[in-house]
Symmetry: C2
């Protein structure tokens, strides 16, 4: 296992001492010499092997890790080290997973080909919406918004990250009603429709909710993987493996880890862990909406979860995914129809585009918003400028008038 | 529910707009106006009600939250907001849990009184050691270190945060052997001994390990609560409730969240969540060892997990724990016998002192190291200077000679 860190030693600490302390604290060192340190233990120490400016690569013998246990991995390479006085700043930028370690995980159950197959959608980007406001609607109001969005042409309904099982919109009632509406819309439109319903909770309750979804013929569950945590996410993946269900992964709380460029854990590491464990969809930002994340960053996350191999760079490592399926990138956060050409230019067709306010904020409501979204998508795939396409498409015209649009960069 | 944030608006964003965005994104707002926003939804919006410099308090209607679901809480008040462009820096400093919310959790099963009772230790600080090196010893070597430490006078053996179930030291073998040794030492010394064995893994496997410990008459399990995550931690707490087992909580990875004073989630919030869910022990740092954390910080964490009520300050909120049991503070990280008076001066007697290298690095090995630790404790409780006490106590003398000592400040 190889980790790439950005590091800054504390005042008075040499570069060599700083990286030595990171390597030892994240494997089997401590702060004093030990009578108990024998040769077979010394052999599985982690070692820094390349220092370039503030970047260091550390190699960890595979024996240090329990296979199939992400919490144990993170307790090792992303544990105590962030709190050491010898270090001023430390960021885990990437982890290169070796073959044997990858083989101890399932990876995604479907990947983009699997999802396209059960959704019967050949080539175009997949479309998604989350009812807004985020929380507060009753179950009936929620299902009505879902129905309108599905009818308007959206493929996936999605819960917001902070909607789970509140008084105003109970989980089991929501699941029942929304899947009933889903079945009805599928009949009416002849299109496949699905729902990323948020099952995030204490693990046993989460699995109970996932079971309920499976029994209602849901194809997907959604989890906030960082606030639920890796132990719960792995358990949900196991359940979904046995029940042939896909997982939509929301990254709420990621920016508490990854926003500081000098300290914490990178979004790249988080995204790779999602693919390793087996998320089928993963939010990676937009580069253009309300959330932070540069174009280059978003492209790197996309490549790392979509491609079979990635070559290394200054802030990432080479990775061969050993045949593991891909995770579909989800672009969301402040998107509207006028941004669709931009996002497709950036991510290509193998992605989920998720619009929330950019659908429900449409002057004529959700159905028109969903139609405008699909019109923007159609125009982009046909290579027609949105402005031109809007002349004959009223819903798109109203959306562009409200939020504007920009040509692909 | 009240949250206290430190915030810095992004360039060109006013203070009012910044805090408004934080409040709305963490409850039910979005970036555009919505046709779907009705009065009953508007009623449960979060509102900023006090801004003092860079500190803001936000009040969240309790309806926004699912009771008994910490992942959902964190997805709300510690979710997307850290990644908003409108904010340059944002740190969640404290959460004031209201009575109804607290009542939906168990809290600690034992607290200091419960643990003292089953350990038959009346007043003195509890003592603990983790075998070092952190990982790499065989199961037999590990158990031998445990035996020596227990025989030398230590109460608790503890696994390191990155030891779970590796090839060189399998979990089930380790549990069996260590509890056998434990039973033997208890007979020999007439003292109660226990073991914080690390069960951190995917949830179902974690509960299987906890069950195995319960069947071996273990009183405790240990979890890395941040790398396992809140869903798994809550599940483990449920299991421990049903099986009358205490939980030792390690905070590996906390400094990825809390080290930056301007961004992320504070250690105070993490510590309070541990008490809410029900950790019986919790690592809070030393203020004097190898890890960061000031004296004032460590005292605040201690008070917040030990006391029944806390008064508010600049960086924390008032909290009434509504009768919830306490969590025992654990001090660890670079400690040795010479630091014992200092730590007791800081934390008092109701704590667990954990020495790793400061025991096993003793020139005469682990038994002598453990004896030196207990001698330092005895001296401190009797009010005798360590230097004076060392005259008649060779093990302590060797320890002080090796690592020095400092008088309480």
């Amino acid at each position: 296992m190889i980790c790439l860190f950005y590091f800054e030693p504390a005042k008075g600490i040499s570069v060599k001492e700083a990286v030595g302390r990171v390597a030892s604290e994240s494997s089997n060192g401590t702060w004093t010499s030990l009578s108990t340190l024998k040769e077979h233990i010394r052999k599985i120490r982690a070692r820094a092997f390349e220092i370039k400016g503030n970047y260091v690569k550390i190699a960890y013998p595979i024996e240090l890790f329990e296979f199939g246990n992400v919490p144990q991995l993170m307790s090792s390479v992303a544990g105590n080290i962030f709190g050491m006085k010898a270090i001023k700043n430390l960021k885990l930028l990437d982890i290169m997973f070796p073959k044997a370690y990858i083989k101890s995980f399932d990876g995604p159950g479907f990947g983009v080909h699997g999802v396209r197959k059960f959704m019967k959608i050949k080539d175009r980007p997949l479309t998604c919406t989350v009812p807004k406001p985020k929380v507060g609607m009753t179950t009936v109001e929620h299902a009505k918004v879902g129905m309108d969005a599905w009818l308007g042409g959206v493929d996936f309904l999605k819960d917001d990250e902070n909607l789970s099982d509140q008084k105003f919109n109970r989980f089991y009632k929501r699941a029942e009603l929304c899947f009933k509406v889903r079945d009805m819309v599928e009949k009416k439109t002849g299109e496949r429709k699905s729902y990323f319903i948020n099952v995030t909770a204490e693990t046993k309750e989460m699995l109970k909710r996932a079971k309920f979804v499976a029994d209602l013929n849901g194809e997907y569950v959604m989890i906030d993987f960082l606030t639920a945590g890796f132990a719960g996410f792995q358990s949900l993946r196991d359940f979904c493996h046995d029940n042939k269900i896909a997982i939509h992964v929301h990254r709420a709380m990621h920016a508490a880890f990854d926003r500081n460029p000098k300290h914490g854990v990178s979004m790249l590491v988080l995204a790779k862990l999602v693919r390793l464990i087996g998320g089928d969809n993963m939010h990676i930002g937009t580069a253009v909406g309300k959330l932070v994340g540069s174009r280059e960053d978003v492209m790197l996350y996309r490549d790392s979860i979509s491609n079979s191999k990635i070559s290394g760079g200054k802030e990432n490592l080479y990775q061969d995914w050993q045949g593991l399926k891909d995770t579909i990138p989800v672009s969301s956060g402040g998107l509207h129809p006028g941004l669709v050409p931009n996002i497709i230019g950036l991510l290509g067709n193998d992605c989920v585009l998720q619009l929330g306010g950019g659908i429900h904020g449409h002057p004529n409501g959700t159905i028109s918003g969903a139609m405008a979204f699909r019109q923007a998508l159609d125009a982009t795939l046909k290579g027609i400028d949105l402005g031109d396409y809007a002349v004959e498409h009223k819903e798109l015209r109203d959306a562009l008038r409200m939020w504007g649009y920009s040509r692909p960069v």
